[in-house]
């Protein structure tokens, strides 16, 4: 029984970290209508920034990593957020004038380039060897005895990530409802209108991109510090597409929807691990899961284009993915 509850905690942590990704994506797509396909790239930038800052340099079989600063983890988390936000702005800068699918192509390519750089610059990132032994925050203090109750490390990390999720949710929800958010919504509906009202829409789009990328970077850092080890194959475009599926299924424009959609996707991915391997196609489960996510995405778009918890304002504005 103990093992199952441990597993549940780990699954919840994964769901929370992915929810942070979905919140960032919802700011891009749900609020601003920007087609960002670089999310896995921002996640990777965050994970690697924090890792390089908090681990010592190391030698490896395929190449030596000469950068490693052994700074406190808090600095790593903050730096991960900032550096990922800067990457977001950097990618958005040349593509601001672009619309819809052009932006999709540029961001998708950019994310692959980030992965290419991580794979090749072993002096900084250890390349394909990956980085191991990433420190966990406050790891020495656990297990902690609290009046007869043993609190394990995973439970602590779950609490930490829940706190970060609640804070991020509150922040992004508030931003979305603030005057700033209303300008983003106006850009989503028709960029000419806020421009005619004297808003500098490129600046707003850059801010939206930076904020969403920043939280993805934070999610990456939280991922790295929980799972000890990272390598470039963790940041494939299929991660971006899974987050997309989560936002669309949950309902674009709704931050609760982003979290619900993520829980659904993570649920499919994790719960199917409990199926016995000897059922037909049992060994193909990892691939069947992704097929299921793809099919769910198409079915939701067909029957419920606004998603499970679609944003009312979006639906009224005719942007609920119904058509043009």
């Amino acid at each position: 029984m103990m093992a199952y509850s441990q597993l549940l905690v780990t699954v919840l942590i994964i769901a929370i970290i992915y929810s942070l990704l979905a919140i960032g994506m919802n700011m891009h797509w749900g609020d601003t209508g920007l087609l960002n396909f670089a999310h896995a790239g921002f996640f990777a930038v965050g994970a690697y920034t924090s890792t390089v800052l908090t681990t010592p340099a190391a030698t490896g079989l395929l190449g030596d990593r000469i950068v490693g600063l052994e700074l406190p983890i808090v600095i790593g988390l903050v730096a991960a957020t900032i550096v990922a936000a800067l990457f977001g702005i950097l990618i958005a800068l040349p593509s601001l004038r672009l619309e819809g699918d052009y932006l999709a192509m540029v961001t998708l390519s950019a994310a692959e380039m980030i992965r290419l750089i991580i794979t090749n610059e072993a002096w900084l990132t250890a390349g394909t060897q990956g980085i191991k032994d990433i420190p966990r925050p406050l790891a020495g203090a656990f297990p902690l005895s609290l009046g007869g109750f043993q609190m394990g490390y995973n439970l602590f990390y779950l609490g930490l990530t829940i706190a970060i999720l609640i804070a991020s949710y509150a922040l992004f929800k508030r931003l979305s409802e603030s005057p700033f958010g209303r300008v983003l919504h106006a850009i989503r509906e028709d960029e000419d209108v806020p421009r005619a009202l004297g808003k500098r829409t490129p600046v707003f789009k850059l801010k939206s991109f930076g904020l969403g990328a920043g939280i993805a970077g934070l999610a990456g850092a939280l991922w790295a510090h929980f799972f000890f080890a990272i390598n470039p194959t963790m940041f494939l475009p299929s991660l971006t597409f899974s987050v997309w599926a989560a936002v669309i299924i949950g309902g674009a424009g709704s931050y609760v929807g982003a979290i619900v959609g993520t829980s659904f996707i993570v649920g499919i991915r994790q719960l199917t691990r409990f199926l016995p391997n000897d059922i037909p196609l049992g060994s193909e489960l990892p691939f069947l899961r992704l097929i299921l996510i793809g099919a769910a995405l198409i079915v939701v778009l067909y029957y419920r284009p606004q998603g499970l918890l679609g944003d009312k304002e979006r639906i009224q504005a005719g942007q609920a993915m119904e058509g043009e």
Partner: protein, 288 residues
């Protein structure tokens, strides 16, 4: 980095032929249906793997297997239109794009389940490349270039000289107007999927012959294909082909100035520079 070698130009022509084909197919579909089909790379991979199955599992000669793979990709494109894309015909371009993401998930992982996720090779002899004028040239590569020239020429004859092709170009320019003038656009859509699918199959099979087969082979080729499509002006077939060769040559020649691991970076660079300076493509023929 490497010093310049005429060999790079030859490699550039080979990969340019592959990119040009993919870009032509993607841009044709875009012209009529107005959306970027992210699953297009998977059509390529599917064609290649069907050919692989016929070649290694059914022991057919490579030529026969290749034709089978190409037909397979054509049938797949039409089937997916009937089963999926047709249901979303009146939706926005963004919805179609997201639907194609879902499809690319489904296709890529189906390929993994059917043929396994490892690297595969066609059952063709590995030969020592003969050298002409200091350039080593494989017969396979010659076949790729000749075949792609042939396909490109055929497609242009189709677009310029046949009723279907002229209707395609009309509909690509203005779908409503073409419809009013009596073009059966629904049937046209089927032809476009067929042509686009066949071209994807050819590109995929040749990509497999040129290197190896992987379930992700098509998806990874999408970036240079995107770059070629945008460079040529989205929806413009001539531009896509010119863009494809330009990207292929630039990629292979780039090793003179940057480390070869960063070859794929050229696609992104061209994409960004092209979008900033000539958003309507080289010839300003973009359909939007």
């Amino acid at each position: 980095m490497a010093t310049f070698d005429p060999q790079f130009i030859w490699f550039g022509l080979v990969s340019g032929s592959l990119i040009a084909l993919g870009a032509l197919g993607l841009t044709l579909i875009f012209g009529i249906l107005d959306f970027i089909n992210i699953a297009y790379g998977e059509y390529m991979a599917f064609g290649a793997f069907v050919a692989f199955g016929l070649n290694t599992q059914a022991n057919m000669p490579m030529v026969v297997a290749g034709i089978g793979g190409v037909l397979g990709a054509g049938v797949l494109a039409i089937a997916l239109d009937k089963v999926v894309f047709e249901k979303f015909r009146n939706r926005s371009a963004i919805v179609l794009l997201v639907v194609s993401i879902g499809l690319s998930f489904i296709l890529r992982n189906s390929i993994r389940i059917i043929w396994g996720s490892g690297t595969k090779r066609f059952d063709i002899p590995i030969e020592q490349a003969p050298t002409y004028f200091g350039i080593s040239i494989l017969p396979d590569q010659v076949a790729i270039i000749i075949l792609s020239f042939g396909v490109l020429a055929l497609t242009f004859v189709l677009l310029r000289k046949t009723d279907i092709g002229i209707a395609m170009r009309a509909a690509s320019d203005d779908t409503d107007l073409a419809q009013i003038r009596g073009v059966n656009t629904e049937r046209l859509v089927l032809y476009v999927w067929l042509v686009g699918g066949l071209i994807a199959g050819i590109a995929g099979v040749m990509l497999g012959i040129d290197s190896v087969l992987r379930p992700t082979m098509g998806f990874l080729t999408l970036i240079p294909i995107f770059a070629a499509v945008i460079l040529g002006g989205i929806g413009d077939p001539v531009g896509a082909v010119v863009g494809g060769y330009a990207i292929g040559l630039l990629q292979e020649l780039s090793v003179v100035v940057i480390p070869s691991e960063y070859k794929p970076l050229i696609g992104l660079l061209v994409l960004v520079v092209g979008l900033l300076t000539r958003p309507d493509g080289l010839f300003g023929e973009a359909t939007r």
